[in-house]
Structures are given as structure tokens and as C-alpha cells.
Symmetry: C2
Subunit: 328 residues, 2 copies
């Protein structure tokens, strides 16, 4: 029997999850829950109901894992504990600083109601976290580096759009090649914020806006841009639509560590992602871990879990024998 | 109480294990077993006994995990099942084709005697296997590439040394930069053996040997060199000792996969290791997984395991709370 998946929220993540579930031979999409009027939500899969989120409780026995596709700022802190009372769930909560609090809330709800609830699954947190943990366990004496990009920062794009005179804007975070090379060469550099990432903005102005004033406001904006080297391009709406509607992203996790009697040997571990679609890759990770949620639930595990708790084999459709023969 | 570690075999891997155990605050070296005369084996750690391998059985209750540091060709197929009858064990068995057979033998011995026995731990098999499994689970529609080097191949160095007229030789396996770039750019190239790796040999000749004849024999050697582009350098003994006694190695694991309704989005996952000392890095991995062996044993797990069965958190000294707060 296939694992029955539910989706809550049908934006970019919801759609990505739907596509990834369709590509998984051991899963089937059972239902999409939405806070919108279901009649206005057109999904890609034929024959799957779109249901008002209020009516989720009626589905408690009809799905094996609910994949939460809301945002980390306001949706998931409320939704994940609520839904963990009804279902096994998985989310991509990515506010690093609030993970311990989110974990505690979700853990309580999941344990009280006998479910498995996995949080913070994606690539950062998620695959990047895995790489930090593996690399730190293997090289206890070392230095960590994480770089993001090239990719769109939604928060920084929003900040630019709020400047008077700006009609539309996209901000790319770009790792500085020189810094990457220094880390890769084992130089263990001390890197400031400015050394690590560039910020590049593509801005469409409103008619009559003062380009120089906008550029100054961007570059001097505290927290968002003041500590970085920032490049600002002014473009027209057509170019914006043609070249800046993608959702590419990626990044790098490095650990540089030493071994030997006199710490004379250096080792560099590098993990790199280059992603055409941030939401589709994130949901591909979510769907693989939804498989693990089902398996851990079937084994009798309960409570909140993260990627750090999951044996890699649990992400796979293949048996242990197959994995050892073909992948080990 | 610290985890008590035993080592069987005191070559490069044994010494690397000793150094990694000394760097682990939660472990202590209890004993080194050797097949040599213990009086001839001088280890780095004060106060730790070196004991004849025949006398291992007397140590059954005195160590928590035995780390096997023998070779895959003849030592481990015999030693790992034997030792799994006495101890929890871990090895770095790396003959990929024989892993299923080794697993079955070790699993039986470990289960019959109530131990956990982990096999094939290191970087390939090991960390590279993990990356192949994670990446395949996340991107089911894609292509895998593994490259090795730049690093010394012991087997190829031995093959060159067996040629008449050769006094000493070292062979480096080198990934072809053009092939790496094509994979990294998402071109999904079809690569032949020759496309992926170069072989570079540094050879010291015996007095009066015919360099041209030796070079021809190397380049035409079936299986080892005939299918590759091979570069041969003749050097003298002093240069050999000065520049070719290192044990650096490394490599790359890539997966290139597609997502999207029309498979229109490409994603590249790259994992790269650059290692000054192959044995010291391998044993750093072994020691981290020895921590997991102890934890799985304490939980009541039994039988043969691989890296695919281990939750990443089990490699760490930190608690779940600490890991979530600092690494997730």
C-alpha cells in the first residue's frame, strides 16, 4: 500500500511537494488542504480533493503523513503543533534561532497524541545541518564555514521593495569567490560579513523616482546592506520579468580540520548545492523524509524528530540489501 | 565513564585510530592487539598495553568497541566475524563487490554473540556512500558520478613496482578537470574510464634499466593503465623520498537530478574531500562511528550495521538539545 500524503498550503512549496510525491513510486497524494476557498485552488493532480483547512480533523485516518507547506514566520509555529495532534507531520521550519522553541512545542503535541513530527527539513536547515554534524563529529578540531547563493533572498528583496520610488526589486546573495577559494585551499581565513557575501540588487523604479537616492538608501540600510558590498542595477519591467523571475539558489558548507600527533595534517570537507528551483529542491527533501516519518511511526517511535535523528536508509525505497549492494 | 576502545593491528590505520581516540574526550584507549611480537611494537600512548592478538578473548569485558585496522584483502574477511563473536567491532572493509558477503558473515557472528558490528566505515565506502544514498533519495531522477583523487593508489603503485627494472614507484589517480566541470555545470556527460581519471606515475629505475621499455610496459598494462591516459616520470631516489612519501587523497561525489512538471529544473549536489592523510581521515571516521556502535549496543541493537543505519546524532558527543541549537 502506498504512503498517503496530505499537503497543507498550496503555494510554491505545496506545488513542489505535489510534483515530488508524483515522482515517488511508493507514495500517493490523498488531499490538499488550503485556507483559501477550495474552489479557487486548481492543483496539478487529477482526482485529488482540495479541502478547507478547517476540515482537516475529518482526515485523521485517511493520510499517513501531512506535509506542511506554510511559512516559518507565522504559519508553522502555529500549524505544526496543531497538526501534530491529528497526523504524523513534517515541516521546513527554517528560523534557526527559534528551532529549540518550535521543537519543544511540536514534541509535546506529537507525544500527547502519539505521532511522529519532523521539523526543519530542507537544505538549510536540513542537508546543510547534516553536513555540519557529520563533519564536526569526524573532525572535532576544525573550523566551519557556510556560504549561501547565488540565490534570491526574499527578505532582502522585500526590504528594497519597501523603499519609496521602488516598483519592483530582486536581491541576489552571492558568495565571494576569493573567500571560497581561501577556505577550499585550507587557509582557515577569518572572514567578516563583507568578506563572505556580495549583495546584488535588480531594481525597477517608479516613474520619476531618483535613482541615486534609492541606491544610497539601499546601500546604507542597516542590517540588510550596510555591512556588505552591494551592487545596484536599475532595469525596466520587461527585463525584470524576463531575467529575474527564477528561484535558483544554493550554497556551500565547509569544514576544515586537523589531525595528526602534531596536528600536521589538514582535511577539507566541502558540500555544495546548485539548485535551479529552491522550492522544488526543498520539497524533494521533504518528501524523502516523509518516507522516514512513516517508517519511524510504524516502528513505534513518537515525538518530534529532525534530520539528525534519521538513519539515511530510512529515506530510501530500496531494501538494506539493495542499498549495500549498489550504494555502499 | 569513557568508552573503552581496543585496536587490532598497528599499521597506518592503527596509529591513526590511536591519534583520533586521544582527540576524543569521551573515549580512552584500553589495549592494542598485534600479530607481531608485542615487545617490538612501540605505541604513542603511555600506559596502554600491547597484547598478542591470540590473547584477545581475555579482554572481552574490558573494552566497549574494538576497531579493526587490518586490510580488506585478507585480514578483515576473517578477523571481523571472529572478533564480532567477542566484542562490538567496527571495520573499514572497502572491497565494494564483496560487501554483501562480508555483511552476511559478520551479521551472523554478531547476532549469535549479541554484539553490534559495523562494517565498511571510512570515506569510500563510508561518507561517499552516505552522499550517494542521500542524493538518490532526494533526487530520484538523476545521474551519479564518483571521482577519486588526487591521491595514491596502492594497487597501481604495486603493479608498477612489479615491472622488472623498477626500484620504486608511486601512482597518483587524478580526476580530469574538464570532466569535473562538465558534471558541475549540469551537462550530464557520458564519461568513459579515460575521460574521468588520469594516472600519473613517479618511477625510480634500477641501475641500467631501460626507461623506454618500462614506460611502454606501464602504459600498456591491461586493467591497470591501458584504458587511461598515463603520464610517467622517472626520478631519483632522493626526489622520491622527498616528494612522494605522503598519503594525501580525496575525491568527489556528484548527483545531478531533475525536478518539475516537465523536468525543467536541474539540481547539482557535490560532495568533495581533500585529505592530507588518507589513513588519519579514515580513522577519524571510524572513531566517530565507534561512538555510534556503543550507543546502538546500549540501546539493545544487535547484528551487522553500516553507515546507512546510523542516525547522524549518534556520531556526536553533544546532546540532542545542543545539536539542534548549534548545528541544525
Amino acid at each position: 500500500m502506498k504512503t498517503r500524503i496530505g499537503i497543507l498550503g498550496y503555494g510554491n512549496l505545496g506545488k513542489g511537494t505535489e510534483i515530488a510525491v508524483a515522482a515517488a513510486e511508493d507514495m500517493e497524494l490523498a488531499v490538499v488542504f488550503t485556507r483559501r476557498d477550495p474552489a479557487t485552488v486548481k492543483i496539478l493532480t487529477d482526482g485529488v480533493p482540495v479541502v478547507k483547512a478547517d476540515e482537516m480533523a475529518a482526515w485523521a485516518d485517511k493520510i499517513d503523513v501531512l506535509i506542511l507547506c506554510g511559512g516559518s514566520a507565522t504559519d508553522l509555529p502555529v500549524q505544526t503543533p496543531q497538526c501534530a495532534a491529528l497526523f504524523n507531520v513534517i515541516d521546513s521550519f527554517d528560523t534557526h534561532a527559534r528551532i529549540p522553541e518550535h521543537f519543544a512545542n511540536v514534541d509535546q503535541a506529537a507525544k500527547e497524541n502519539g505521532h511522529v513530527a519532523m521539523i526543519s527539513v530542507g537544505w538549510d536547515p536540513g542537508l546543510f545541518s547534516l553536513n555540519r554534524v557529520y563533519a564536526n563529529a569526524i573532525l572535532p578540531d576544525g573550523k566551519d564555514y557556510t556560504f549561501w547563493g547565488k540565490g534570491v533572498s526574499q527578505g532582502h528583496s522585500d526590504a528594497v521593495r519597501r523603499i519609496p520610488g521602488v516598483k519592483n526589486a530582486k536581491q541576489y546573495t552571492i558568495p565571494v569567490e576569493k573567500a571560497l577559494e581561501a577556505v577550499r585551499n585550507g587557509e582557515d581565513p577569518e572572514l567578516t560579513t563583507r568578506d563572505k557575501h556580495l549583495r546584488e540588487c535588480f531594481v525597477v523604479l517608479q516613474d520619476g523616482a531618483d535613482a541615486a537616492a534609492v541606491e544610497k538608501q539601499i546601500k546604507e540600510m542597516p542590517n540588510y546592506f550596510a555591512d556588505y558590498n552591494t551592487i545596484v542595477h536599475f532595469i525596466d519591467e520587461d527585463e525584470f520579468k524576463a531575467n529575474h523571475s527564477g528561484m535558483a539558489h544554493g550554497g556551500f558548507v565547509f569544514r576544515s580540520g586537523k589531525t595528526g600527533i602534531n596536528k600536521e595534517n589538514k582535511h577539507i570537507i566541502e558540500y555544495r548545492l546548485t539548485l535551479d528551483s529552491n522550492p522544488e529542491f526543498t520539497t524533494s527533501v521533504l518528501v524523502a523524509y516523509a518516507r522516514a516519518v512513516k517508517r519511524m511511526y510504524d516502528e513505534g517511535q513518537r515525538g518530534c524528530k529532525t534530520v539528525l535523528d534519521v538513519p539515511p536508509a530510512y529515506l530510501c525505497t530500496q531494501s538494506g540489501d539493495e542499498l549495500r549492494a549498489h550504494f555502499l
